[in-house]
């Protein structure tokens, strides 16, 4: 454990004692928090690799001793729509991230650097709208999407998620304000157009803000449940976060499915579905954590 490390340069017994007391006070609760967070997740990962026999055995261990891929094989080949749900999620998420990244950085650049009438008022209105509760929003969104024939449509989902722009604009504007003005002005004077300055000077410098916006949007869109649940009721356009629920309540034909009879447990199959549904966001979070945490704690959450 981390707590057992000795402090540098302290040799007296009293210092040791106070250090250990301090470390215990800090790390005992933190270890409890860690376990509370991790045990359900470890259970999910390990169960998804357990075969039928091991799952139903009396001793439920948190580690699979005979790991098997049978659950994944089953859910990916026999739950016919699961690959389609996953594909839809990728299409919607990538589409929405692209729209948000492009539109929010363009708008934020104008809000940060260009002068036009009403600029600050429009920006203020956008930011304040973050705090207005969206009362009745689900109902009116349902009406709007029906009217536009965008229910059960991936395009509809992409457009709706792409319209969640106020927070990304706020974050991107902070990023652009940190770009040294002289850099842009000298380029402007040298005859470069605004679009060129935006694209080849400001955007690369504000790259961290852009990454943060993209991660936040990715996580938000991939994980959305309620809006997608209301707008989509057909398998062909359903995303995995909604499809996961459908897949879980579906009765599995454990004994009839050829090739899988007696090999897997329904609960283990469920765990495999959940793991597949969360793997992409966890992966993004793992790989890009440096940008994520720095961006959140140093800028985005400071309103």
């Amino acid at each position: 454990m981390v707590a057992s490390q000795t402090p540098r340069g302290q040799t007296q017994a009293t210092h040791y004692r106070s250090y250990y007391v301090r470390a215990t006070i800090f790390y005992v609760p933190l270890v409890i928090v860690t376990l509370t967070i991790l045990v359900p997740l470890v259970w999910m990962v390990s169960t998804s690799f357990k075969g039928r026999q091991e799952f139903y055995s009396a001793t439920a261990s948190l580690l699979p001793f005979h790991p098997t891929l049978v659950n994944y094989q089953y859910v990916l080949t026999q739950l016919g729509y699961l690959p389609i749900y996953l594909r839809n999620s990728f299409v919607v998420t990538v589409g929405a991230v692209a729209i948000v990244a492009l539109l929010s950085s363009l708008a934020a650049y104008a809000f940060a650097r260009m002068r036009f009438r009403g600029r600050d008022m429009i920006f203020l209105a956008l930011v304040l709208s973050i705090f207005i509760p969206n009362v009745g929003g689900l109902m009116s969104l349902y009406e709007l999407m029906s009217f536009l024939h965008l229910r059960n449509s991936l395009i509809g989902l992409i457009l709706y998620f792409g319209s969640a722009l106020p927070i990304p604009i706020f974050i991107m504007r902070q990023g652009f304000l940190a770009v040294p003005k002289e850099l842009e002005e000298s380029a402007l004077v040298d005859g470069a157009g605004w679009l060129r300055v935006f694209w080849s000077i400001s955007l690369p410098v504000a790259f961290n803000a852009l990454v943060l916006v993209m991660i936040l949007t990715f996580v938000g869109v991939w994980g959305d449940f309620l809006v997608t649940f209301i707008l989509v009721d057909q398998d062909a356009t359903m995303t995995i976060s909604v499809g996961a629920q459908k897949a879980l309540v579906m009765p599995y034909a454990t004994s009839i499915t050829p090739g899988f009879a007696g090999l897997f447990a329904t609960e283990a199959g469920n765990a495999a579905v959940l793991l597949l549904a969360s793997a992409p966001v966890v992966l993004v979070y793992l790989v890009l954590q440096r940008w994520f945490m720095a961006g959140l704690t140093e800028g985005a959450l400071k309103f």
Partner: protein, 318 residues
């Protein structure tokens, strides 16, 4: 002009500053119309899918719009929806469930989040890892975390009851099927999923407090608890407000209930958010108008609650 086409040193500087000034003047006087072009696509998308939806949601609260009844979109019915609400005992019951749910979830979540944030703020080492860890449940899709808890709560093969049996507890409760435990079980799952976000907000607030305040206090002989009470908590007031405003969606519990219990057993987990969802999207001719009216009322109650809390926080400061 020099041979390579550039302006000679001396003139170049004046020329450039002149150009700069001229551009600046032009921008001051008429504005830069290109700016509108840059914000236009974002604003257009926002106006259609967010602003219109907001306005229409408000207007819909005064109609008898039923989705399956043709041409009822603008069937104004004044305050009729609100009269109906007074006699709708499902609505009243769901409000009571919601109040219970808020009492379970809000104080617990804030205490846990603040405690973890304080620990991480003062932790000798490893704060980066723990910060990463507490935010992990927040990024998981809500359906994954709720369905995962559904599996854990399962009375036959769920991990919680398996553990309890292992400790010799012969008849562990069927968490989500028992009217006494179902609502609290949802609250636990919801807190597990979302306290990390509040923790991060509190951490940002803590980092914003000047360190010399603590130094001065400890020179004056103030202990850890005194410092917490007289320095940290008062200075964190804006953060408390932010946590409340940004996590208010949690108090409706719509998605959590939808995924875990669908309001059962015996309507014991039917929060007002879930009742509104049912009226709008699963029952009868999908009474969107009445649902919008109910969410307007609940939204107003939430707004009053938030404002009262902000007032209280500010009043304490004075």
């Amino acid at each position: 002009m020099q041979r390579d086409g550039s302006l000679p040193e001396g003139r170049s500087a004046t020329f450039r500053s002149f150009v700069k000034e001229a551009r600046g003047l032009r921008r001051e006087a008429w504005g830069n119309p290109l700016g509108y072009l840059f914000i236009a696509p974002a604003i257009a998308l926002y106006l259609l899918f967010n602003f219109w939806v907001l306005i229409r949601g408000f207007l819909m609260a005064f109609t008898n719009y039923r989705f399956l009844v043709p041409n009822s979109n603008w069937a104004w019915n004044g305050l009729r929806n609100y009269q109906l609400m007074l006699h709708d005992h499902f609505f009243g019951d769901s409000l009571i469930v919601s109040v219970k749910y808020v009492i379970m979830i809000l104080p617990t979540m804030i205490v846990i989040a603040l405690a973890v944030a304080l620990l991480l703020y003062r932790a000798p080492r490893g704060a980066g890892f723990f910060r990463w860890l507490v935010y992990l449940p927040v990024i998981l899709p809500i359906s994954v975390s709720m369905l995962l808890w559904q599996q854990l709560y399962n009375s036959q093969y769920g991990y919680i009851d398996t553990m309890l049996r292992g400790f010799g507890y012969a008849n562990p409760p069927d968490w989500l099927a028992d009217t006494h435990t179902a609502l609290a079980s949802i609250a636990v799952a919801s807190i597990w999923r979302s306290f990390g976000f509040s923790t991060l907000l509190f951490l940002v607030g803590l980092y914003g407090i000047a360190r010399d305040l603590y130094e001065a206090a400890s020179i004056d002989g103030a202990g850890g608890l005194q410092q917490l009470w007289h320095i940290t908590l008062p200075l964190l007031r804006p953060t408390f407000a932010l946590v409340l405003i940004l996590q208010i969606g949690l108090l409706y519990g719509t998605q959590e209930v939808l995924l875990l219990t669908q309001g059962g057993p015996a309507n014991s987990t039917e929060t007002v958010g879930y009742y509104i969802y049912q009226v709008a999207f699963t029952e009868g001719d999908l009474r969107l108008g009445y649902a919008a009216a109910m969410s307007l009322v609940v939204g107003l109650v939430m707004a009053v609650f938030t404002l009262a809390t902000l007032r209280f926080l500010r009043g304490e400061a004075a």
